[in-house]
């Protein structure tokens, strides 16, 4: 059974989808039980993988391979290395907690869970695929559920309903109407943006397929024996970089992301910010770094420049937002800049930090979105100025929000701290300016998150919201406690985690740096 553990992780949510199709909507508890199981199984299995990955041996492990089409050179090929394990774990945990977060979805709950499970499973699928075809397959598959989830179960941004008149909503020019704040607009923008990015990456993948001389999509084979002509490496790396970075999202391709976050229901925002955005970084590493190490070295300084805009621009915009979800949305795009900085530094410390930070950010931002969603459920507003003083009504949420904020800006004891520190330490040597700016970005994070905390939970309370309830004992508290506990646990005991990640990162960096010196700064933790 343990030979097929990746299949179990990948197909448990799909099995949940199939089961849900046969359960009537009139049995809400059964629907949710199935969804919980579909989230719990991958979570437990991911922990198993984390602790049974042989980091001394390194490389891809838990591999499974089945020929899917000989004619096209496609095989269903699964495997994980140190870079994908944290992300698989994060996806599973966020799915598991997301099921609880969306416990109170009433409208067509069964369909909601079906799309949520497809979204999570597709995300996991990208992380475990070692075949370019399936990597793209799952990548594209993860985008479409977002459209339906946003459109049907999402929420309009404040002010939309006053503005919206039906004529405008139906017009063809709607997509270009940037003044709209509707969820349909957000969903369409997100889908088209990500599909366009995916198509750019697809073209690169097809060129790799056609020019490698192997006529296969098998990534491991391409890494070992691919003969892609040298003059194509640069352009292919850029296609892959910008194709996948649109989901990451790197400045200036980020504009779909905060809008999408704001429109999405809480659990979807969690998955979106937590793991969907990391598909971008992961795919760049998995495809771009491994296949074109020299082009990586040549072009990643570009990312180091762009990431500064992400960090500062995202942070500043987040500071001036009035909508809780916009704050968190922009904070996420800002924090993704750190990951790019870590990736661009191309040394073991910062890369390890980047991967760890992706995991840590998933937990922290998951908590933030869950709390924002809960507050919205209780008060039906996300407008920070009109909220306030909610800590007296919901002490638990206020408390856990402090943990989430602490995790988000990287307070020691949380896993975010370790990730952030490793990124900064590693990037100091190659990019001192960017590192200083990134440190300033942490201050910015602190500023906007504290501002939001004050605005929502402290200060005078609008009596209008006096009816707000605190989190119910199990359903609402469990997911947040799981996320907080995971963040603290790996903050205190990161050794196994870092060993696993380094097993994936070290050979990659060695390949990219070639015979040059391996920049080993500081010691490992």
């Amino acid at each position: 059974m343990m030979d097929h553990i990746l299949s179990i992780i990948l197909f448990a949510p799909f099995a949940g989808v199939v089961l849900l199709l046969f359960i009537p909507n009139e049995k809400p508890l059964l629907v949710r039980t199935v969804a919980v199981m579909a989230g719990l199984i991958p979570t437990l299995a991911s922990f198993y993988i984390l602790y049974h990955y042989d980091s001394a041996a390194g490389g891809y492990q838990f591999m499974e391979q089945y020929v899917w089409s000989k004619e096209l050179g496609i095989s269903f090929f699964l495997g994980v290395d140190g870079i994908s394990i944290p992300l698989v774990l994060a996806s599973s945990i966020l799915l598991f907690t997301g099921v609880f977060i969306s416990w109170h979805v009433k409208d067509r709950a069964k369909e909601f869970y079906i799309f949520l499970l497809i979204l999570a499973a597709a995300t996991i699928g990208v992380y475990v695929s070692l075949d370019l075809f399936f990597l793209y397959f799952f990548y594209e598959m993860s985008v479409l559920p977002m459209y339906v989830l946003l459109c049907v179960w999402g929420s309009h941004t404040k002010g939309y309903l006053e503005m919206a008149d039906k004529e405008k909503r139906d017009s063809v020019g709607f997509i270009f109407n940037f003044a709209s704040n509707s969820k349909e607009y957000a969903a369409m923008k997100l889908t088209l943006f990500l599909s366009a990015g995916a198509v750019v990456a697809l073209i690169a993948i097809l060129i790799i397929y056609a020019t490698s001389g192997l006529h296969t999509f098998n990534l491991v084979e391409l890494q070992a024996h691919g003969q892609v002509p040298k003059y194509l490496h640069g352009i292919l790396f850029l296609l892959i970089f910008f194709g996948f970075a649109s989901i990451a999202p790197i400045w200036p391709l980020h504009s779909w992301s905060p809008v999408g976050h704001a429109a999405a229901p809480a659990a979807v925002s969690m998955l979106h910010a937590g793991v969907l955005m990391k598909l971008g970084h992961f795919s760049i590493i998995r495809v771009g770094y491994t296949l074109f190490p020299e082009a990586t070295k040549e072009w990643m300084p570009l990312a180091a420049v762009l990431c500064i805009f992400s960090i500062i621009y995202g942070g500043l915009v987040a500071y001036f937002q009035k909508d809780t979800k916009y704050v968190i949305g922009y904070s996420s795009s800002s924090h993704m800049g750190y990951v790019f900085l870590g990736m661009a530094s191309l040394n073991v410390i910062s890369m390890t930090g980047a991967v760890l930070y992706m995991f840590a950010h998933a937990l922290a931002t998951g908590m933030l979105f869950a709390i924002a969603g809960f507050v919205y459920d209780q008060t039906h507003t996300r407008d920070i100025p009109s909220l306030g003083g909610l800590s007296s009504r919901m002490p638990f949420m206020a408390g856990i929000f402090i943990v989430a904020v602490a995790a988000s800006f990287g307070l020691p004891l949380t896993v975010n701290f370790i990730g952030e520190l490793m990124i900064l330490v590693g990037s100091w040597n190659p990019y001192p300016v960017q590192t200083i700016v990134a440190v300033l970005g942490i201050g910015l994070t602190l500023a906007y998150l504290f501002r939001m905390m004050r605005g929502v939970f402290y200060g005078p309370m609008d009596p209008h919201y006096a009816h707000a309830q605190d989190a119910s004992p199990v359903v609402d508290r469990l997911p947040l406690l799981v996320l907080a506990a995971t963040s603290l646990y790996f903050g205190l005991f990161p050794t196994q985690f870092i060993h696993v990640i380094q097993a994936g990162v070290t050979p990659l960096i060695a390949a990219i740096q070639g015979n040059g010196p391996l920049t080993q700064i500081g010691g490992s933790f």
């Binding site: 899917w68 089409s69 004619e71 096209l72 075809f133 793209y136 397959f137 799952f138 594209e140 598959m141 479409l144 459209y147 339906v148 459109c151 049907v152 063809v172 997509i175 349909e184 969903a187 369409m188 889908t191 088209l192 599909s195 366009a196 198509v199 750019v200 697809l202 073209i203 097809l206 060129i207 397929y209 056609a210 006529h215």
Partner: protein
């Protein structure tokens, strides 16, 4: 050339599907005339059963790998032809199933409908075997004539009459071009047999160029590629919806059989001379179809423009002109069959109740019938090319085939078109899932319709998730086709 008509038992066996088909349609016609009290639905089920039998016979032929030529090489049976015959029969079966409910609302000539449908199917079955320009002309007209009548079938509906007339005039015009092209080619080469051209390795003379171009225009008209697409939206909109569904798939597939014979088999040696033509037509078809589809307000017109774009996608495979490209075309047509026919089935069911094809009336469909809404979602996402549905594999297959022949630009245009097409498919999905319905009446789905929906949804999912067997079938058909030249 003295023409002697001799047929050996082997020849009869090779022709057996068509002979049986002729028997079947005569039977249906006679039953309808002689026993008017037989329910028309019974006739439909009878034809479906008959075609099912012939389908199985063809499947057997395919597995046995039967092949041969008849009538001095004018008529050829090879795996490719058998594949297309089965494809056309499958389409006809599904269309007949989808027609049963629709025809209950047509007051007269309901029996003839099935007869004409079978006649069109027989014409196309003969057409995919045509190995010379004369039998091409005859079989093409044979199948198209039935369609002229079918398109104008709703004689009290001016739109249907208008569509029939337009289709007829343009169709006859295309036939004229075809005949002119054939005469030019015969004048230049003295031959009309496809395989002869390949053997002659003749260099192109101006007369031949004009001849082949005229033939291509006529065939381009049949598949509705830009710039020969002008008839498509009006006729799709005016024709009875089951006929539209039929028209959108079967004749196009049959024409692709001919295009494959002409381009990859006959003119394969001089691919460099014509590839730009196909590339241009393909790129323009995709882009034009997708962009114009965005502003459509009628679902049949939307599907018409989406169909133009889909044909552009199939043409990518033709431009590749390789074994893999041929296989990709066959596979793509299968994915197109399931997704497009499924979408039209939803339209038929919906308009049976509401008498409307306006997109606006699809608002809130998911609250009226979750089954129809879910099916439409799957069909549209497949047409858009979203994994894990059939359309995605189809697109990838043609892209890979084109990449292998170095057609990067075409693949890039195809990729951009995926994004454009996603927009208008998603607009419809948005209406279906998000907007509130004006009328809350649930939409009943009858048994035959349910059968079609299950088949098409199953096909879309199967071809998307486990396409291995189907890729092998299309690759095998293409492989043997190229080897038998």
């Amino acid at each position: 050339m003295p023409f002697t008509f001799t047929m050996t038992p082997v020849d009869v066996e090779l022709l057996m599907p068509e002979i049986l088909m002729t028997g079947l349609l005569s039977l249906i016609l006679c039953l309808d005339f002689l026993f008017p009290r037989i329910g028309k639905t019974t006739l439909a089920w009878l034809s479906i059963a008959g075609m099912g039998g012939i389908f199985l016979l063809l499947a057997g032929y395919f597995i046995d790998g039967r092949h041969g030529t008849l009538f001095h090489e004018m008529y050829v049976i090879d795996p490719m032809a058998i594949f297309f015959k089965a494809f056309i029969l499958g389409t006809t079966i599904l269309v007949f199933l989808a027609s049963i409910d629709y025809l209950k609302k047509v007051p007269v000539f309901r029996g003839e409908y099935y007869f004409l449908g079978l006649l069109a199917a027989l014409g196309m079955m003969l057409m995919v075997s045509a190995n010379d320009l004369l039998s091409l002309f005859i079989t093409l007209e044979f199948s198209t004539f039935s369609f002229y009548i079918l398109v104008a079938y709703l004689r009290d509906d001016p739109k249907s009459n208008e569509a029939g007339l337009k289709f007829f005039i343009l169709g006859v015009f295309a036939a004229g071009l075809l005949a002119f092209g054939i005469s030019l080619i015969y004048g230049e080469t003295g031959s009309i047999i496809f395989t002869d051209f390949a053997r002659m390795h003749a260099h192109l003379t101006p007369g031949m160029v004009i001849g082949f171009l005229l033939i291509f225009v006529a065939l381009g008209f049949k598949i509705g590629a830009v710039p020969f697409h002008a008839w498509v939206p009006d006729i799709y909109q005016g024709a009875p919806t089951p006929v539209t569904a039929f028209l959108s798939i079967a004749p196009k597939a049959a024409t692709f059989a001919i295009l494959l014979r002409i381009f990859t088999a006959t003119l394969g040696d001089i691919r460099g001379d014509w590839v730009w033509l196909i590339v241009a037509i393909s790129a323009v078809s995709m882009t034009y179809g997708n962009i114009v589809a965005i502003s459509q307000k009628n679902i049949k017109r939307l599907l018409a423009y989406s169909g133009i774009a889909q044909i552009g996608n199939v043409l990518i495979g033709l431009a590749a002109a390789s074994k893999m490209g041929d296989g990709a075309i066959l596979f793509y047509l299968m994915t197109y069959l399931f997704a497009n026919l499924g979408a039209f089935t939803v339209v038929i069911i919906f308009s049976n109740l509401t008498n409307s094809d306006d997109l606006e009336d699809y608002n809130g469909l998911s609250r009226r019938s979750p089954l129809l809404a879910g099916a439409l979602l799957i069909f549209f996402l497949s047409l858009a090319g979203v994994p894990p549905l059939a359309g995605f594999i189809g697109k990838l297959y043609v892209f890979v085939a084109a990449m292998n022949e170095g057609l990067l630009a075409l693949v890039v245009i195809g990729g951009i078109n995926i994004v454009i097409s996603m927009y208008y498919y998603l607009i419809v999905i948005k209406r279906v899932y998000i907007y509130m319905p004006k009328d809350n009446a649930p939409i009943p789905v009858s048994f035959p319709m349910r059968l079609v929906l299950i088949t098409t949804v199953g096909g879309v999912l199967l071809l998307g998730i486990y396409p291995k067997a189907f890729i092998e079938i299309s690759a095998a058909a293409a492989e043997l086709f190229s080897r038998m030249l």
